[in-house]
């Protein structure tokens, strides 16, 4: 937060990171080259313009009442030159830009497909066979195609390190692809253990920005939502992890597939609460967000928008997860997407068990 630091750019403007985030996909090299080429072309025009502007202002500054030295009204050849001349550069930019763009739209055969669901305010990546996770994990040097859908408003998936972006529009599927060229390292087990312990001690959710690696110990690239989507738009972020080997990736996927044997349902439910987007709208401390808080919810009588009240028992919770627009608690909007088909029975059981731990003993009975 130091003022002089604000000007650090002036000293390291020549470093690659001064202008762009890390270059980590096949698109980024083309993009950065094109960006620089356009910038230099602009400077070729801008510098003489500014030079002329300043030079003329000084050179032709005259006392009041002096007549202009010349009153030439026009010069057709000169004017045509500066009208048509720059057009060649424009055509160049257009062609290079369009070619690189077509490359970005043209998914290569055999790309691995991952389904992406965007919602207010989070991401769910579908790795198939019932494995869902908010983080995007992909394989080095393998093209990936994302098939993306939104269940509420327009979002946009943006990975600055890949120079790739695409809007996700409800009511249709949008796709994008990229091929990562840089793998993310793993931090040492000691460092990971320290960070996990610290997070647990503080009782907070995982802080990606602070640790700069995922709860599994991987360094990452940022993934942002860039289409304004409401209140917590700026918190609709997740990460991309590029694995170096297929084994590493499949290990990670299987570690996140189902409730591991021996894990208590409530503990796994808490994990689902964080990973599957519940946390975006439902607090656990009683504070009101987009949806009712989970704190003390189980066993409570909830007022309905249509009047009357319903006791929040196992069946009501299950119904609200699968058919969230059926029974709306008074004071809230019917905006939650359905989780039908996305959570297994065991998952729902685990979440309900987790909710029970959030209610005080009396209500839970």
């Amino acid at each position: 937060m130091n003022f002089t630091n604000a000007f650090s750019l002036l000293s390291d403007y020549a470093e690659p990171y001064a202008w762009f985030p890390q270059s980590a996909s096949t698109f980024s090299e083309t993009n950065d080259w094109l960006y620089n080429w356009i910038t230099y072309t602009c400077l070729v025009f801008f510098i003489p313009i500014v030079f002329a502007l300043v030079y003329f202002s000084v050179k032709y500054k005259k006392p009041k009442g002096t007549k202009a030295e010349s009153n030439v009204a026009h010069n057709t050849i000169l004017e045509l030159t500066w009208s048509i001349g720059p057009s060649f550069f424009l055509v160049g930019m257009f062609i290079l830009g369009a070619r690189a763009y077509l490359d970005q739209r043209d998914v290569p055969d055999g790309a691995n497909e991952i389904n992406v669901q965007a919602f207010k305010w989070g991401w769910t990546m579908d790795y198939g066979s019932g494995v869902f996770h908010p983080e995007l994990h992909i394989l080095l040097d393998e093209p990936v195609k994302l098939s993306m859908r939104s269940t509420d408003v327009i979002h946009s998936l943006y990975v600055p390190a890949f120079r790739a972006k695409k809007d996700i529009v409800p009511g249709r599927y949008n796709y994008m692809w990229f091929k990562p060229t840089v793998a993310n390292e793993r931090v040492s087990d000691a460092e990971l253990a320290a960070a996990v312990k610290e997070t647990k001690d503080l009782g907070e959710t995982w802080n990606y920005d602070k640790h700069q690696f995922t709860p599994d110990g991987y360094r990452f690239f940022d993934l942002y939502c860039t289409e304004y989507c409401g209140t917590n738009h700026s918190e609709m972020q997740t990460v991309v992890v590029v694995h170096e080997t297929l084994k590493d990736l499949t290990d990670w996927i299987s570690a996140n597939s189902v409730r591991p044997d021996g894990t208590p349902p409530a503990e796994y439910g808490e994990k689902l609460y964080k990973n599957r987007g519940c946390a975006g709208c439902h607090s656990v401390d009683g504070s009101k967000r987009v949806g009712p808080s989970f704190g003390g919810l189980y066993g409570r009588d909830e007022e309905m928008t249509v009047g009357g009240s319903v006791k929040a028992d196992e069946n009501y919770l299950r119904e609200s997860i699968l058919y969230p627009k059926e029974k709306i608690v008074a004071g809230y909007q019917p905006v939650m997407p359905s989780y039908k088909g996305q959570l297994s029975d065991d998952d729902i059981y685990s979440i309900v068990e987790y909710l029970k731990t959030l209610s005080s003993g009396d209500a839970a009975k």
Partner: protein, 582 residues
């Protein structure tokens, strides 16, 4: 320090000063004489006050945004509702700046005052419609304020569906406001088109019109043709919200991207409603303060029309990432590049006008020079965004934010300020402190660049726009930007103080303080309520050969060579036919 001398024997033409009963500011008194005035000059002044208030309000919101972004986790708004407040503030900043300030600033405030006077007419074609458009502006403003004080508005100024059809904030109040403001804009445009087409006095041919009028004319065409589309779109949005007609909302089989097409079909041409009048102002400012004929008059005039027409064909470039087919996307990219040509022509023409001129670095000229610098940056960075591949990276990042602020603030606002300083003596009959004015221009220039240059870098580094909180690695650049915004605020405040003190302490302004040749400098400062007693003699608007500096009275005057008139015969007192009766 003066080289001015009036050639011996020439006749000086100067209208002198208006009497109190002629001066449009004082010829009738009382609040009602303003409320019900049909005088285009008074309506222009009321607009000027209105848009200044709107600008001040939205400017304070901008400062709130910048202060909040001083820290990654947000420095101003705290607690559970922090993001909500931030979203409402940036929405209102954008909506008020666009609909209440930039669109009406030059055409409605300066245009109303200047168009008839520059043209040599006594008023606009439909004075009542003109007053009506001002009151519609006021009503629209009330709707925006109402939206703020009811449940806020958090959709962004673009009202993108389906967010705007599902959020429970006051979308309907705000869209009604924008709808009404649209009519205000249409009325103004219609009025100017009819005025310029039908009310030119003898001798005022199309190519003798000052370039400001050409720019206003092009702007008016856009206002009349594009604004109805916005009106329809906003009504459809309201219908979608209230009746679920299923055009924009996917839940009812609508398509959200259709909304974006409709919206940008207006709002892209609207960008030219914002910048074209600025081009007009700058053309006049550069020429007058260089005391030299504008270079390439026809190219500038035609390029205004070209921009107005091409501006209708490029709306798709706001949606390169939205999911249009690749072919459509590429066609829009190609069309987008064509728009940059006419803008470039103007910049070269302005520079050529300064070349071998006799430049006075007055306050308006300082703003004009700042404009060329800033607008060139704004225009050139548009190339990065028009190029498809780089736009995939830069779309919806701070790069875009910086780009359009360079065009709208560095362009339109600076030109507006330059215009206000240029015509201030004409509007209010007072000279302001030149030192103060130039100081304000300098602070604004530095503050502006400090605010928005870092945002280009933020954007290319990948900082998304409309974020209430952000990753810590972006913090330094955000802080730099915030310091710049504060400095920019100081500069604007200095400008306001300079202008307001001139009303009290300023010297009386001569009819022609800068040496302009267009018609507004031929009537007194301030103009009489009737503008011109009879249709004025129309000369070349950029011929400065007979505009001379009168050192003694500190004014410019028009001279004409002394003419020897043949003495007329004195008519006899008694008519010839009457003589015979005696």
């Amino acid at each position: 320090m003066s080289a001015g001398s009036i050639p011996k024997g020439s006749v000086v033409r100067d209208p002198g000063y208006p009497t109190e009963s002629e001066n449009y500011l004082t010829n009738s008194k009382g609040v009602l004489s303003w409320v019900f005035t049909l005088d285009h000059k008074r309506i222009g002044v009321m607009y000027l006050i209105g848009v200044t208030l709107a600008f001040g309000f939205a400017g304070l919101l901008a400062l709130l945004i910048r202060l909040h972004l001083f820290q990654p986790e947000g420095a101003i708004f705290k607690g559970a509702e922090a993001n909500n407040y931030y979203n409402q503030v940036f929405t209102l900043h954008g909506a008020v700046m666009v609909f209440l300030f930039i669109i009406p600033s030059v055409p409605a405030a300066l245009g109303n005052f200047l168009v008839p006077v520059m043209l040599g007419a006594k008023d606009v074609a439909f004075p009542r419609l003109n007053l009506c458009s001002f009151y519609l502006w006021c009503v629209g403003a009330v709707f925006f304020i109402a939206a703020l004080f009811s449940t806020g508005l958090d959709t962004g100024w673009t009202f993108y569906t389906p967010y705007s059809t599902t959020t429970d904030t006051s979308v309907i109040a705000a869209t009604m406001g924008a709808f009404i403001l649209g009519f205000s804009s249409i009325f103004t445009g219609l009025n100017f088109i009819v005025t310029i087409n039908t009310m030119r006095p003898p001798g005022m041919t199309w190519f003798r019109m000052p370039l400001f009028l050409w720019a206003t004319y092009s702007t008016s065409i856009i206002q009349v043709l594009a604004t109805p589309v916005l009106g329809i779109t906003l009504l459809l949005l309201i219908a979608e919200r209230t009746m679920h007609i299923g055009i924009f909302d996917p839940e009812f089989n609508g398509d959200p991207v259709t909304y974006q097409h409709f919206f940008w079909f207006y709002s892209h041409p609207a960008v030219y409603i914002m910048i074209l009048p600025a081009f007009g102002i700058i053309s006049d400012l550069i020429s007058v303060h260089s005391h030299k004929r504008i270079f390439g008059y026809r190219f500038i005039a035609y390029s205004s029309i070209a921009i107005a027409l091409l501006g209708f064909l490029v709306w798709g470039h706001h949606m390169f990432t939205a999911g249009m087919s690749p072919l459509t996307t590429i066609v829009f990219s190609a069309l987008t590049f064509t728009v940059s040509v006419p803008s470039a022509i103007k910049v070269f023409n302005w520079l050529a006008t300064m070349y071998k001129g006799s430049i006075s670095l007055t306050t308006p000229m300082c703003f004009a020079i700042a404009f060329i610098f800033l607008f060139t940056i704004g225009g050139l960075t548009g190339l990065h965004l028009g190029t498809l591949a780089t736009d995939m990276h830069l779309h919806d990042t701070y790069f875009v934010v910086a780009h359009f602020h360079y065009v709208m603030v560095g362009g339109t606002l600076i030109a507006f300020l330059g215009g206000v300083f240029h015509w201030w003596p004409k509007m209010f009959g007072k000279m302001y402190s030149e030192f103060g004015g130039r100081l304000a221009a300098l602070i604004i220039f530095i503050g502006f660049n400090l605010t928005f240059l870092p945002q280009f870098v933020l954007g290319s580094r990948g900082m998304p726009r409309r974020y209430a909180t952000y990753d810590p690695e972006f913090a330094y650049l955000h802080q730099m930007s915030t310091y710049g915004a504060l400095l920019l605020g100081v500069g604007l405040l200095v400008a306001l103080v300079v202008l307001l003190t001139s009303l009290v302490k300023g010297k009386k302004a001569p009819a022609n303080p800068w040496g302009g040749a267009t018609l507004e400098w031929h009537c007194t400062s301030p103009p009489p309520f009737y503008n011109f007693e009879r249709a004025p003699v129309v000369g070349d608007p950029y011929d400065f050969s007979n505009v001379e500096w009168d050192d003694e009275n500190e004014r410019y005057v028009s001279t004409e060579p002394e003419r020897k008139l043949v003495p007329g015969e004195t008519p006899e007192a008694v008519p010839a036919h009457a003589k015979d009766t005696h």
